[in-house]
Symmetry: C2
Subunit: 230 residues, 2 copies
DNA sequence: ACCTGAACACCGTTCAAGT
DNA sequence: ACCTGAACACCGTTCAAGT
Protein backbone atom coordinates (compact mmCIF):
# COMPACT_ATOMS: atom_id res chain seq x y z
CA UNK A 1 0.00 0.00 0.00
CA UNK A 2 1.42 3.38 -0.95
CA UNK A 3 -1.09 6.21 -1.16
CA UNK A 4 -4.61 5.56 0.17
CA UNK A 5 -7.64 7.18 -1.52
CA UNK A 6 -8.37 9.15 1.62
CA UNK A 7 -5.32 10.59 3.44
CA UNK A 8 -4.25 8.77 6.59
CA UNK A 9 -2.90 11.94 8.18
CA UNK A 10 -3.77 15.60 8.59
CA UNK A 11 -1.90 18.46 10.26
CA UNK A 12 -4.57 18.54 12.96
CA UNK A 13 -4.25 14.83 13.79
CA UNK A 14 -0.46 15.07 13.87
CA UNK A 15 -0.49 18.14 16.13
CA UNK A 16 -2.95 16.54 18.55
CA UNK A 17 -0.92 13.33 18.80
CA UNK A 18 2.32 15.27 19.24
CA UNK A 19 0.88 17.35 22.08
CA UNK A 20 -0.42 14.21 23.79
CA UNK A 21 3.02 12.63 23.58
CA UNK A 22 4.74 15.76 24.92
CA UNK A 23 2.25 16.03 27.79
CA UNK A 24 2.52 12.38 28.74
CA UNK A 25 6.23 11.75 28.33
CA UNK A 26 8.02 15.04 27.85
CA UNK A 27 9.54 16.98 24.98
CA UNK A 28 12.37 14.49 24.53
CA UNK A 29 9.90 11.67 23.97
CA UNK A 30 8.64 13.35 20.83
CA UNK A 31 10.53 11.76 17.98
CA UNK A 32 9.27 11.62 14.42
CA UNK A 33 9.45 7.83 14.43
CA UNK A 34 7.68 7.46 17.75
CA UNK A 35 4.97 9.91 16.69
CA UNK A 36 4.52 8.13 13.38
CA UNK A 37 4.10 4.81 15.16
CA UNK A 38 1.46 6.39 17.40
CA UNK A 39 -0.37 7.44 14.23
CA UNK A 40 0.12 4.04 12.57
CA UNK A 41 2.23 5.33 9.70
CA UNK A 42 5.93 5.21 8.87
CA UNK A 43 8.31 7.95 9.98
CA UNK A 44 8.86 9.81 6.71
CA UNK A 45 5.09 10.19 6.15
CA UNK A 46 5.07 13.17 8.48
CA UNK A 47 7.22 15.10 6.02
CA UNK A 48 4.28 15.32 3.64
CA UNK A 49 2.57 17.59 6.18
CA UNK A 50 5.43 19.44 7.90
CA UNK A 51 8.77 20.46 6.42
CA UNK A 52 10.72 19.73 9.62
CA UNK A 53 10.16 18.65 13.18
CA UNK A 54 10.61 22.30 14.22
CA UNK A 55 7.71 23.31 11.98
CA UNK A 56 5.58 20.67 13.66
CA UNK A 57 6.59 21.97 17.10
CA UNK A 58 5.63 25.48 16.01
CA UNK A 59 2.15 24.26 15.14
CA UNK A 60 1.83 22.48 18.48
CA UNK A 61 2.88 25.62 20.35
CA UNK A 62 0.46 27.83 18.48
CA UNK A 63 -2.41 25.43 19.16
CA UNK A 64 -1.72 25.79 22.89
CA UNK A 65 -1.58 29.59 22.70
CA UNK A 66 -4.86 29.52 20.79
CA UNK A 67 -6.53 28.34 24.01
CA UNK A 68 -5.78 31.60 25.82
CA UNK A 69 -8.86 33.80 26.29
CA UNK A 70 -8.46 37.28 24.80
CA UNK A 71 -12.11 38.32 24.93
CA UNK A 72 -11.51 40.70 27.87
CA UNK A 73 -9.49 42.91 25.54
CA UNK A 74 -12.01 42.92 22.70
CA UNK A 75 -14.48 45.61 23.70
CA UNK A 76 -11.99 48.31 24.60
CA UNK A 77 -10.01 47.76 21.42
CA UNK A 78 -13.03 48.04 19.14
CA UNK A 79 -14.38 51.48 19.96
CA UNK A 80 -13.33 54.36 22.22
CA UNK A 81 -11.66 56.31 19.45
CA UNK A 82 -8.68 58.23 20.82
CA UNK A 83 -8.86 57.31 24.47
CA UNK A 84 -5.24 58.19 25.02
CA UNK A 85 -5.29 59.70 28.49
CA UNK A 86 -4.48 58.11 31.79
CA UNK A 87 -7.76 59.19 33.32
CA UNK A 88 -9.57 55.91 32.67
CA UNK A 89 -9.99 52.97 30.31
CA UNK A 90 -11.34 53.93 26.94
CA UNK A 91 -14.62 52.62 25.56
CA UNK A 92 -16.82 49.96 27.02
CA UNK A 93 -14.01 47.51 27.74
CA UNK A 94 -13.31 46.52 31.31
CA UNK A 95 -10.59 48.41 33.15
CA UNK A 96 -7.03 47.31 32.43
CA UNK A 97 -6.23 45.81 35.86
CA UNK A 98 -9.18 43.44 35.72
CA UNK A 99 -8.49 42.63 32.06
CA UNK A 100 -4.85 41.82 32.83
CA UNK A 101 -5.91 39.70 35.81
CA UNK A 102 -8.42 37.66 33.80
CA UNK A 103 -6.02 37.28 30.89
CA UNK A 104 -3.08 36.24 33.10
CA UNK A 105 -5.16 33.51 34.72
CA UNK A 106 -6.32 32.16 31.39
CA UNK A 107 -2.79 32.41 29.98
CA UNK A 108 -1.34 30.51 32.91
CA UNK A 109 -4.06 27.86 32.81
CA UNK A 110 -3.46 27.20 29.12
CA UNK A 111 0.30 26.90 29.59
CA UNK A 112 0.26 25.00 32.87
CA UNK A 113 -1.88 22.34 31.17
CA UNK A 114 1.14 21.63 28.94
CA UNK A 115 4.24 22.51 30.98
CA UNK A 116 6.62 20.43 28.86
CA UNK A 117 6.17 22.69 25.87
CA UNK A 118 6.55 26.00 27.72
CA UNK A 119 10.31 26.28 27.01
CA UNK A 120 9.55 26.29 23.27
CA UNK A 121 6.66 28.71 23.57
CA UNK A 122 8.66 31.10 25.76
CA UNK A 123 11.02 31.85 22.88
CA UNK A 124 8.49 34.42 21.68
CA UNK A 125 5.77 34.69 19.06
CA UNK A 126 7.99 34.30 16.01
CA UNK A 127 5.61 34.09 13.06
CA UNK A 128 2.92 32.12 14.86
CA UNK A 129 -0.49 33.76 14.32
CA UNK A 130 -2.07 33.00 17.69
CA UNK A 131 0.99 34.27 19.55
CA UNK A 132 1.01 37.48 17.51
CA UNK A 133 -2.71 37.95 18.08
CA UNK A 134 -2.13 37.62 21.82
CA UNK A 135 0.67 40.21 21.83
CA UNK A 136 -1.45 42.55 19.70
CA UNK A 137 -4.46 42.31 22.00
CA UNK A 138 -2.54 42.97 25.23
CA UNK A 139 -0.48 45.83 23.85
CA UNK A 140 -3.48 47.43 22.15
CA UNK A 141 -5.59 47.30 25.29
CA UNK A 142 -2.90 48.86 27.45
CA UNK A 143 -2.24 51.68 25.02
CA UNK A 144 -5.95 52.42 24.69
CA UNK A 145 -6.19 52.43 28.46
CA UNK A 146 -3.74 55.31 28.58
CA UNK A 147 -0.39 53.60 29.11
CA UNK A 148 2.47 55.12 27.08
CA UNK A 149 3.64 52.71 24.38
CA UNK A 150 7.02 52.07 26.01
CA UNK A 151 5.39 51.18 29.31
CA UNK A 152 2.82 49.01 27.57
CA UNK A 153 5.63 47.03 25.93
CA UNK A 154 7.31 46.51 29.28
CA UNK A 155 4.08 45.36 30.91
CA UNK A 156 3.45 42.85 28.12
CA UNK A 157 6.97 41.56 28.62
CA UNK A 158 6.92 41.33 32.40
CA UNK A 159 3.55 39.60 32.40
CA UNK A 160 4.90 37.00 30.00
CA UNK A 161 7.97 36.57 32.19
CA UNK A 162 5.80 35.89 35.21
CA UNK A 163 3.26 33.64 33.49
CA UNK A 164 5.76 31.49 31.59
CA UNK A 165 7.92 31.20 34.69
CA UNK A 166 4.95 30.03 36.71
CA UNK A 167 3.88 27.50 34.06
CA UNK A 168 7.33 26.11 33.29
CA UNK A 169 7.48 23.94 36.35
CA UNK A 170 5.88 23.47 39.73
CA UNK A 171 7.77 25.25 42.50
CA UNK A 172 6.58 22.82 45.14
CA UNK A 173 7.31 19.67 43.14
CA UNK A 174 10.88 20.85 42.60
CA UNK A 175 11.69 19.96 46.21
CA UNK A 176 12.26 16.22 46.79
CA UNK A 177 9.70 14.65 49.15
CA UNK A 178 12.54 12.76 50.85
CA UNK A 179 13.24 14.41 54.22
CA UNK A 180 16.82 13.05 54.20
CA UNK A 181 17.75 15.61 51.56
CA UNK A 182 17.43 18.55 53.93
CA UNK A 183 20.30 18.15 56.35
CA UNK A 184 19.83 20.79 59.07
CA UNK A 185 23.55 21.56 59.09
CA UNK A 186 23.49 22.52 55.42
CA UNK A 187 19.98 23.97 55.08
CA UNK A 188 18.79 25.24 58.47
CA UNK A 189 15.48 26.62 57.17
CA UNK A 190 14.34 23.79 54.90
CA UNK A 191 13.24 21.38 57.62
CA UNK A 192 9.71 21.29 56.24
CA UNK A 193 10.58 21.45 52.55
CA UNK A 194 9.94 17.73 52.04
CA UNK A 195 6.24 18.43 52.62
CA UNK A 196 5.98 20.95 49.76
CA UNK A 197 5.45 18.40 46.99
CA UNK A 198 2.39 17.09 48.77
CA UNK A 199 0.73 20.50 48.58
CA UNK A 200 1.76 21.16 45.03
CA UNK A 201 -1.51 22.59 43.78
CA UNK A 202 -2.15 25.06 46.59
CA UNK A 203 1.47 26.22 46.89
CA UNK A 204 1.86 26.93 43.17
CA UNK A 205 -1.55 28.55 42.80
CA UNK A 206 -1.06 30.63 45.94
CA UNK A 207 2.30 31.86 44.69
CA UNK A 208 0.87 32.73 41.30
CA UNK A 209 -2.08 34.62 42.79
CA UNK A 210 0.09 36.46 45.29
CA UNK A 211 2.53 37.48 42.58
CA UNK A 212 -0.22 38.49 40.18
CA UNK A 213 -1.95 40.72 42.74
CA UNK A 214 1.36 42.23 43.85
CA UNK A 215 2.24 43.02 40.24
CA UNK A 216 -1.16 44.58 39.57
CA UNK A 217 -0.92 46.67 42.75
CA UNK A 218 2.55 47.84 41.81
CA UNK A 219 1.43 48.72 38.29
CA UNK A 220 -1.61 50.60 39.63
CA UNK A 221 0.76 52.80 41.64
CA UNK A 222 2.63 53.64 38.45
CA UNK A 223 -0.59 54.24 36.52
CA UNK A 224 -1.72 56.75 39.15
CA UNK A 225 1.59 58.57 38.78
CA UNK A 226 0.97 58.97 35.03
CA UNK A 227 -2.03 61.21 35.75
CA UNK A 228 -0.17 63.27 38.37
CA UNK A 229 2.76 64.17 36.12
CA UNK A 230 1.57 64.44 32.54
CA UNK B 1 46.94 4.35 24.56
CA UNK B 2 44.39 3.37 27.16
CA UNK B 3 44.79 4.98 30.55
CA UNK B 4 47.24 7.87 30.87
CA UNK B 5 49.26 8.35 34.06
CA UNK B 6 47.55 11.65 34.67
CA UNK B 7 43.79 11.73 33.92
CA UNK B 8 42.75 13.50 30.71
CA UNK B 9 39.41 14.58 32.15
CA UNK B 10 37.94 15.97 35.33
CA UNK B 11 34.35 16.79 36.29
CA UNK B 12 35.25 20.47 36.27
CA UNK B 13 36.70 20.42 32.76
CA UNK B 14 33.71 18.47 31.45
CA UNK B 15 31.19 20.83 33.06
CA UNK B 16 32.95 23.91 31.71
CA UNK B 17 33.10 22.51 28.17
CA UNK B 18 29.44 21.43 28.34
CA UNK B 19 28.30 24.88 29.46
CA UNK B 20 30.30 26.51 26.67
CA UNK B 21 28.68 24.22 24.11
CA UNK B 22 25.19 24.91 25.48
CA UNK B 23 25.78 28.65 25.50
CA UNK B 24 27.20 28.73 21.99
CA UNK B 25 24.92 26.27 20.19
CA UNK B 26 21.97 25.41 22.42
CA UNK B 27 20.92 22.55 24.63
CA UNK B 28 20.31 20.26 21.66
CA UNK B 29 23.90 20.68 20.51
CA UNK B 30 25.16 19.02 23.68
CA UNK B 31 25.72 15.39 22.79
CA UNK B 32 28.10 13.12 24.62
CA UNK B 33 30.00 12.45 21.41
CA UNK B 34 30.26 16.08 20.44
CA UNK B 35 31.34 17.06 23.95
CA UNK B 36 33.94 14.28 24.00
CA UNK B 37 35.35 15.47 20.68
CA UNK B 38 35.60 18.98 22.09
CA UNK B 39 37.64 17.51 24.96
CA UNK B 40 39.76 15.34 22.64
CA UNK B 41 38.58 12.03 24.08
CA UNK B 42 36.21 9.32 22.90
CA UNK B 43 32.52 9.39 23.79
CA UNK B 44 32.37 6.70 26.46
CA UNK B 45 35.18 8.32 28.45
CA UNK B 46 32.68 10.72 29.97
CA UNK B 47 30.99 7.83 31.73
CA UNK B 48 33.96 7.50 34.01
CA UNK B 49 33.04 10.87 35.52
CA UNK B 50 29.22 11.05 35.23
CA UNK B 51 26.77 8.16 35.39
CA UNK B 52 24.48 9.64 32.72
CA UNK B 53 24.10 12.71 30.58
CA UNK B 54 21.40 13.91 32.99
CA UNK B 55 23.88 13.77 35.86
CA UNK B 56 26.25 15.90 33.83
CA UNK B 57 23.47 18.40 33.10
CA UNK B 58 22.70 18.56 36.81
CA UNK B 59 26.29 19.54 37.52
CA UNK B 60 26.22 22.20 34.80
CA UNK B 61 23.01 23.66 36.22
CA UNK B 62 24.34 23.76 39.76
CA UNK B 63 27.52 25.49 38.61
CA UNK B 64 25.37 28.26 37.11
CA UNK B 65 23.29 28.63 40.28
CA UNK B 66 26.51 28.80 42.25
CA UNK B 67 27.16 32.18 40.60
CA UNK B 68 24.14 33.78 42.30
CA UNK B 69 25.10 36.17 45.09
CA UNK B 70 23.48 35.26 48.43
CA UNK B 71 25.61 37.50 50.64
CA UNK B 72 22.73 39.99 51.17
CA UNK B 73 20.93 37.30 53.19
CA UNK B 74 23.91 36.32 55.30
CA UNK B 75 23.91 38.88 58.09
CA UNK B 76 20.23 38.67 58.98
CA UNK B 77 20.30 34.89 59.03
CA UNK B 78 23.26 34.65 61.36
CA UNK B 79 22.11 36.56 64.43
CA UNK B 80 18.88 38.31 65.49
CA UNK B 81 17.65 35.38 67.55
CA UNK B 82 13.85 35.22 67.45
CA UNK B 83 13.08 38.23 65.30
CA UNK B 84 9.66 36.93 64.43
CA UNK B 85 7.62 40.12 64.28
CA UNK B 86 6.60 42.17 61.29
CA UNK B 87 7.93 45.35 62.79
CA UNK B 88 11.28 45.23 61.07
CA UNK B 89 14.09 43.07 59.76
CA UNK B 90 15.91 41.14 62.44
CA UNK B 91 19.58 41.54 63.16
CA UNK B 92 22.09 43.55 61.20
CA UNK B 93 21.01 42.28 57.80
CA UNK B 94 19.62 44.74 55.28
CA UNK B 95 15.85 45.10 55.07
CA UNK B 96 14.06 42.38 53.06
CA UNK B 97 12.96 44.56 50.11
CA UNK B 98 16.50 45.66 49.34
CA UNK B 99 17.82 42.14 49.90
CA UNK B 100 15.23 40.70 47.51
CA UNK B 101 16.03 43.40 44.95
CA UNK B 102 19.78 42.76 45.05
CA UNK B 103 19.32 39.01 44.99
CA UNK B 104 16.82 39.08 42.10
CA UNK B 105 19.22 41.12 39.99
CA UNK B 106 22.11 38.78 40.67
CA UNK B 107 19.87 35.74 40.09
CA UNK B 108 18.68 37.09 36.76
CA UNK B 109 22.19 38.07 35.66
CA UNK B 110 23.52 34.58 36.40
CA UNK B 111 20.69 32.89 34.51
CA UNK B 112 20.48 35.34 31.61
CA UNK B 113 24.17 34.67 30.93
CA UNK B 114 23.15 31.08 30.09
CA UNK B 115 19.56 31.23 28.79
CA UNK B 116 19.73 27.87 27.02
CA UNK B 117 20.00 25.98 30.28
CA UNK B 118 17.21 27.83 32.12
CA UNK B 119 14.51 25.27 31.20
CA UNK B 120 16.53 22.59 33.02
CA UNK B 121 17.27 24.78 36.01
CA UNK B 122 13.64 25.88 36.32
CA UNK B 123 12.58 22.34 37.20
CA UNK B 124 13.52 23.11 40.79
CA UNK B 125 16.44 22.45 43.13
CA UNK B 126 16.15 18.66 43.22
CA UNK B 127 19.20 17.47 45.15
CA UNK B 128 21.58 20.12 43.81
CA UNK B 129 23.45 21.76 46.71
CA UNK B 130 23.75 25.29 45.32
CA UNK B 131 20.05 25.38 44.42
CA UNK B 132 19.09 24.18 47.90
CA UNK B 133 21.41 26.73 49.51
CA UNK B 134 19.71 29.47 47.48
CA UNK B 135 16.21 28.36 48.53
CA UNK B 136 17.35 28.11 52.15
CA UNK B 137 18.85 31.60 52.19
CA UNK B 138 15.81 33.33 50.67
CA UNK B 139 13.27 31.53 52.81
CA UNK B 140 15.31 32.00 55.97
CA UNK B 141 15.75 35.70 55.41
CA UNK B 142 12.05 36.30 54.76
CA UNK B 143 10.98 34.36 57.85
CA UNK B 144 13.48 36.19 60.02
CA UNK B 145 12.20 39.46 58.58
CA UNK B 146 8.77 38.70 59.98
CA UNK B 147 6.98 37.06 57.06
CA UNK B 148 4.79 34.08 58.03
CA UNK B 149 6.23 30.83 56.69
CA UNK B 150 3.43 30.27 54.19
CA UNK B 151 3.87 33.73 52.73
CA UNK B 152 7.66 33.34 52.66
CA UNK B 153 7.24 30.16 50.60
CA UNK B 154 4.98 31.94 48.14
CA UNK B 155 7.38 34.85 47.78
CA UNK B 156 10.28 32.48 47.09
CA UNK B 157 8.16 30.80 44.44
CA UNK B 158 6.86 33.92 42.74
CA UNK B 159 10.32 35.46 42.62
CA UNK B 160 11.63 32.33 40.91
CA UNK B 161 8.73 32.44 38.48
CA UNK B 162 9.56 35.99 37.52
CA UNK B 163 13.34 35.59 37.34
CA UNK B 164 13.35 32.33 35.38
CA UNK B 165 10.69 33.67 33.04
CA UNK B 166 12.77 36.77 32.40
CA UNK B 167 15.96 34.76 31.79
CA UNK B 168 14.42 32.03 29.63
CA UNK B 169 14.31 34.16 26.51
CA UNK B 170 14.45 37.74 25.36
CA UNK B 171 10.99 39.28 24.98
CA UNK B 172 12.18 41.74 22.34
CA UNK B 173 14.10 39.19 20.27
CA UNK B 174 11.00 37.00 20.09
CA UNK B 175 9.49 39.41 17.57
CA UNK B 176 10.84 39.00 14.01
CA UNK B 177 12.68 42.09 12.74
CA UNK B 178 10.93 41.65 9.38
CA UNK B 179 8.21 44.31 9.10
CA UNK B 180 6.29 42.15 6.61
CA UNK B 181 5.22 39.86 9.46
CA UNK B 182 2.95 42.45 11.05
CA UNK B 183 0.07 42.85 8.61
CA UNK B 184 -2.03 45.78 9.87
CA UNK B 185 -5.24 43.92 9.08
CA UNK B 186 -4.31 41.06 11.40
CA UNK B 187 -2.32 42.88 14.08
CA UNK B 188 -3.42 46.52 14.20
CA UNK B 189 -1.17 47.47 17.15
CA UNK B 190 2.06 45.76 16.17
CA UNK B 191 3.13 48.22 13.49
CA UNK B 192 6.36 48.96 15.33
CA UNK B 193 7.06 45.48 16.63
CA UNK B 194 9.74 44.80 14.03
CA UNK B 195 11.90 47.40 15.79
CA UNK B 196 11.84 45.57 19.13
CA UNK B 197 14.67 43.16 18.35
CA UNK B 198 16.99 46.10 17.72
CA UNK B 199 16.46 47.36 21.27
CA UNK B 200 16.72 43.98 22.86
CA UNK B 201 18.86 44.94 25.83
CA UNK B 202 16.93 47.99 26.99
CA UNK B 203 13.48 46.47 26.43
CA UNK B 204 14.27 43.30 28.38
CA UNK B 205 16.08 45.07 31.16
CA UNK B 206 13.37 47.74 31.42
CA UNK B 207 10.68 45.08 31.67
CA UNK B 208 12.60 43.19 34.32
CA UNK B 209 13.22 46.30 36.42
CA UNK B 210 9.62 47.50 36.09
CA UNK B 211 8.30 44.09 37.09
CA UNK B 212 10.73 43.75 39.96
CA UNK B 213 9.84 47.15 41.43
CA UNK B 214 6.12 46.52 40.95
CA UNK B 215 6.43 43.18 42.74
CA UNK B 216 8.39 44.70 45.62
CA UNK B 217 5.85 47.53 45.96
CA UNK B 218 2.98 45.06 45.96
CA UNK B 219 4.71 42.90 48.56
CA UNK B 220 5.45 45.95 50.75
CA UNK B 221 1.71 46.67 50.84
CA UNK B 222 1.09 43.15 52.12
CA UNK B 223 3.91 43.39 54.62
CA UNK B 224 2.38 46.55 56.07
CA UNK B 225 -0.93 44.75 56.47
CA UNK B 226 0.79 42.03 58.53
CA UNK B 227 1.54 44.58 61.27
CA UNK B 228 -1.97 46.05 61.21
CA UNK B 229 -3.77 42.73 61.75
CA UNK B 230 -1.61 40.49 63.90
C1' DA C 1 -0.71 14.02 -3.60
C1' DC C 2 0.63 10.94 -0.07
C1' DC C 3 2.57 6.89 1.64
C1' DT C 4 6.55 3.29 1.79
C1' DG C 5 11.34 1.08 2.74
C1' DA C 6 16.18 1.89 2.40
C1' DA C 7 19.81 4.75 3.50
C1' DC C 8 22.85 8.51 5.74
C1' DA C 9 24.85 10.69 9.51
C1' DC C 10 23.87 11.04 13.83
C1' DC C 11 22.34 9.89 19.10
C1' DG C 12 23.03 7.69 24.67
C1' DT C 13 24.83 3.91 26.75
C1' DT C 14 27.05 -0.75 27.67
C1' DC C 15 30.86 -3.64 27.68
C1' DA C 16 35.02 -6.18 27.03
C1' DA C 17 39.67 -5.00 26.49
C1' DG C 18 43.74 -2.46 27.51
C1' DT C 19 47.27 -0.25 30.95
C1' DA D 1 41.11 4.00 37.88
C1' DC D 2 40.46 5.70 33.36
C1' DC D 3 40.59 5.40 28.56
C1' DT D 4 39.51 2.81 23.97
C1' DG D 5 36.74 0.68 19.91
C1' DA D 6 32.83 -2.11 18.83
C1' DA D 7 28.15 -2.69 19.33
C1' DC D 8 23.00 -1.93 20.35
C1' DA D 9 18.85 0.46 19.82
C1' DC D 10 17.73 4.64 18.75
C1' DC D 11 17.46 9.64 16.22
C1' DG D 12 15.96 13.54 11.88
C1' DT D 13 15.85 13.71 7.22
C1' DT D 14 16.35 12.52 2.12
C1' DC D 15 15.07 10.03 -1.73
C1' DA D 16 13.57 6.85 -5.17
C1' DA D 17 9.68 4.05 -5.78
C1' DG D 18 4.90 3.04 -5.63
C1' DT D 19 -0.26 4.28 -6.57
Amino acid sequence: MARPRTPLLSRERIVAAALRLIDDEGLDALSTRRLATELSVSGPSLYNHFATKDDLLDAVVDSVIGEVDLSMFGAAAGDAGAAGTAGGAGGTGIAWPQALRDWARSYRAALAAHPNIVPVLAQGPGRRPNALRLADAVFGHLVESGWPRGQATRIGALMRYFVTGSALASFAAGFPADAEVYDAADYPHLGEAHRLAGHRGTVDEGAFETGLEALLDGLALRYARLAERP
